[in-house]
């Protein structure tokens, strides 16, 4: 299973009225790695992740997750999804949020209690577990939000700009969590527009205006573009595409 693609896109298109948000994307993401989806705002990252998470339907083409064409509720339990917004119930406590998301994924009883404890420990919120989400800081909410995407031990994690608007210290922390998760066998698809983070991914896809400009290992991309930085590489591929 490990060498099988966890995500496969075949000519994936998504239209919203006249606007084509995804213009036919072909891509294969192998299991067990951190895959970075890089692109400016409005490039189609969120649209792509929503289709993979089974929320949105492709207009044409297909998106396979764990071999199943999306949307398919049967793979939902294998996916952890962290939205761009915090997406927590502000009038519930941190712990109650975690328990709720655990339970809708079918985790319950002693197992749920154990997972909640572990995750609160991981994201460093053990002492704030009984605080209302409304009363904790923005950074804590981000961490709680990540924990909520992990309660059901997904094999696959879709993270939509998890570090947007997050202070540098917490960003480093987040990437350390991701590292630990992939070491534990979780595959991660993470979108970001911070190019400095892209270097920490195993593979990158460069997305611009609904098109996949280039895809590959960060180091190779940089070499091919003969660029010092990934930023410069991104600009190189973007320019090459649109003469």
């Amino acid at each position: 299973m490990a060498d099988e693609a966890i995500v496969r896109l075949e000519g994936l298109k998504k239209r919203f009225g006249k606007i084509e948000a995804l213009k036919g994307i072909d891509l294969e993401i192998p299991a067990g790695i951190t895959y970075g989806l890089i692109g400016p705002n409005g490039s189609g990252k969120t649209t792509l992740i929503r289709i993979l998470a089974g929320i949105s339907r492709p207009s044409s083409g297909a998106a396979f997750v764990l071999g199943r064409p999306m949307p398919d509720r049967s793979v939902a339990a294998s996916i952890g999804y962290m939205t761009q917004a915090e997406a927590l119930y502000k009038d519930l406590t941190v712990e109650e949020n975690l328990r709720f998301f655990g339970r809708i994924y079918g985790v319950s009883g002693a197992l749920l209690r154990q997972r909640v404890d572990e995750l609160l420990e991981l994201v460093g919120l053990s002492d704030r577990r009984r605080s209302l989400v409304d009363e904790v800081s923005g950074g804590m909410r981000r961490r709680a939000s990540l924990a909520c995407a992990l309660v059901h031990r997904p094999r696959l994690l879709f993270l939509d700009e998890p570090t947007a608007g997050v202070d540098p210290e917490l960003r480093i922390q987040f990437w350390n969590y991701f590292k630990r998760l992939t070491t534990g066998g979780v595959s991660i698809l993470v979108s970001t527009h911070h190019l400095d983070e892209a270097g920490r991914c195993d593979r990158l896809g460069l997305l611009r205006e609904g098109e996949l400009l280039k895809e590959g290992v960060p180091e190779e991309l940089r070499r091919e573009a003969q660029a010092e930085t990934l930023e410069a590489a991104f600009l190189y591929f973007a320019r090459r595409r649109s003469p």
Partner: protein
């Protein structure tokens, strides 16, 4: 000064840009005033009554009574109803009251015997019953005066002609049933309907606004499970609310009621089913809590005015009755009044229950569509 105008201008821009608010600000007052004026100005549907005179000798007084009722009171005389058929005619709504005139033979009246006026009232609407009885009382004097004239009695003998003995019979309700007994059933379901509708609409809206809807959609939860989950959570409060209201109304306010509390709860359950799904469905037409608040005049006011809560359906103009029968609370009110005032069983209010259920199913379809839409469009 310019700081104040900056603020004022900003608020002007925001309201002017929110087209729905603009429409509502001007439309709702017109809608409400228009409906109210229509209701208040339109000629009330006349009260339907039958005058039955079993014995031949009383035909003359019977005719006189009918004539007086038509001319001096707003009563429509329904013909062709016999004494044994009274209850049936009251039940199916052909008439609202029947007057049985006995012992009105002219010769006997001359000797000072009193005629008997038995009034059988449908009685579930205490206000129209009372109005009818008052009109009937007022007719006593002209009735007697005319009779005296017809009999050409001397002054001395005229005193002998006594007013007929009034004998009241109620099919439903009774003498001590008042307005509160009539208003309690609709208020009970209105409160539950309103509460559940607003709460669902707002919490669903928040679900969307705070992004948790995304998480729910990505989870193994099906649309159906989301709806059922919402319903179950709300139902607990809605039924508890109903139970508290019923307790308050029955034991502390001493409202008259027949029938079982369980059947009232069954009606409430269907009302809540419809209201919660309507909340989900309507939340998709609102961008924020403010816009949910705007549904209140649109959804709630017409139902308050037209569902039979304040004006009984029977007195409304025909056109408004058609609108009324398109509103869910109309059926809830009919069902609850039948259960509580008439002491009907659930089986007897089946048509109303089915209408409520149809509304609930329609709204469920709407809410499923709503949840699907979040995925497909965003």
């Amino acid at each position: 000064m310019s700081r104040i105008t900056a603020l004022a201008y900003r608020i002007f821009l925001q309201i002017a840009r929110d087209r729905r608010t603009l429409v509502l600000i001007f439309l709702v007052p017109m809608l409400v005033m228009g409906l109210l004026t229509w209701l208040l100005r339109s000629e009330k549907q006349p009260f339907r009554a039958a005058v039955i005179v079993p014995d031949k000798g009383g035909a003359m007084m019977g005719d006189l009574l009918r004539e007086l009722l038509v001319q001096n009171a707003r009563v429509k005389i329904i013909a062709g109803i016999t004494e044994p058929g009274i209850n049936e005619a009251l039940e199916d709504g052909r008439i609202q009251a029947a007057i049985v005139l006995r012992g009105a033979d002219l010769e006997e009246l001359k000797t000072g015997k009193r005629a008997e006026l038995k009034v059988v009232l449908e009685g579930s609407d205490p206000m129209s019953s009372r109005e009818f009885l008052q009109q009937l009382q007022r007719l006593q004097k002209p009735l007697l005066d005319t009779m005296r004239g017809l009999l050409s009695l001397s002054d001395e003998n005229a005193q002998m002609l006594a007013p007929p003995e009034l004998n009241l019979v109620f099919l439903y309700g009774g003498k001590d049933f008042g307005e509160t007994d009539y208003f309690a059933p609709p208020v009970i379901c209105f409160v539950a309907f309103f509460f559940v509708f607003i709460i669902t609409a707002v919490s669903f809206l928040r679900e969307r606004a705070q992004g948790t809807m995304e998480r729910l959609l990505a989870s193994p939860l099906s649309q159906f499970e989301i709806i059922l989950g919402y319903l179950s959570g709300l139902l607990l409060f809605a039924l508890a609310q109903t139970a508290v209201i019923l307790f308050f109304v029955f034991y502390l306010l001493k409202i008259h009621y027949l029938g079982s509390i369980a059947s009232v709860l069954v009606v409430e359950f269907i009302v809540v089913l419809g209201a919660s799904n309507m909340g989900i469905f309507f939340s998709s037409f609102a961008k924020n809590e403010f816009q949910v608040a705007q549904f209140i005049p649109l959804v709630v006011l017409p139902q308050v005015l037209l569902s039979g809560m304040l004006w009984s359906l029977e007195t409304m103009p025909k056109a408004l009755q058609y609108i009324a029968y398109a509103l869910p609370l109309t059926y809830a009110n009919l069902a609850l009044r039948n259960l509580m005032i008439k002491g009907f069983s659930l089986a007897q209010v089946l048509p109303e229950l089915l209408a409520l259920l149809a509304f609930a199913l329609l709204m469920t379809a709407g809410s499923i569509l709503t949840i699907r839409k979040f995925g497909a469009i965003n």
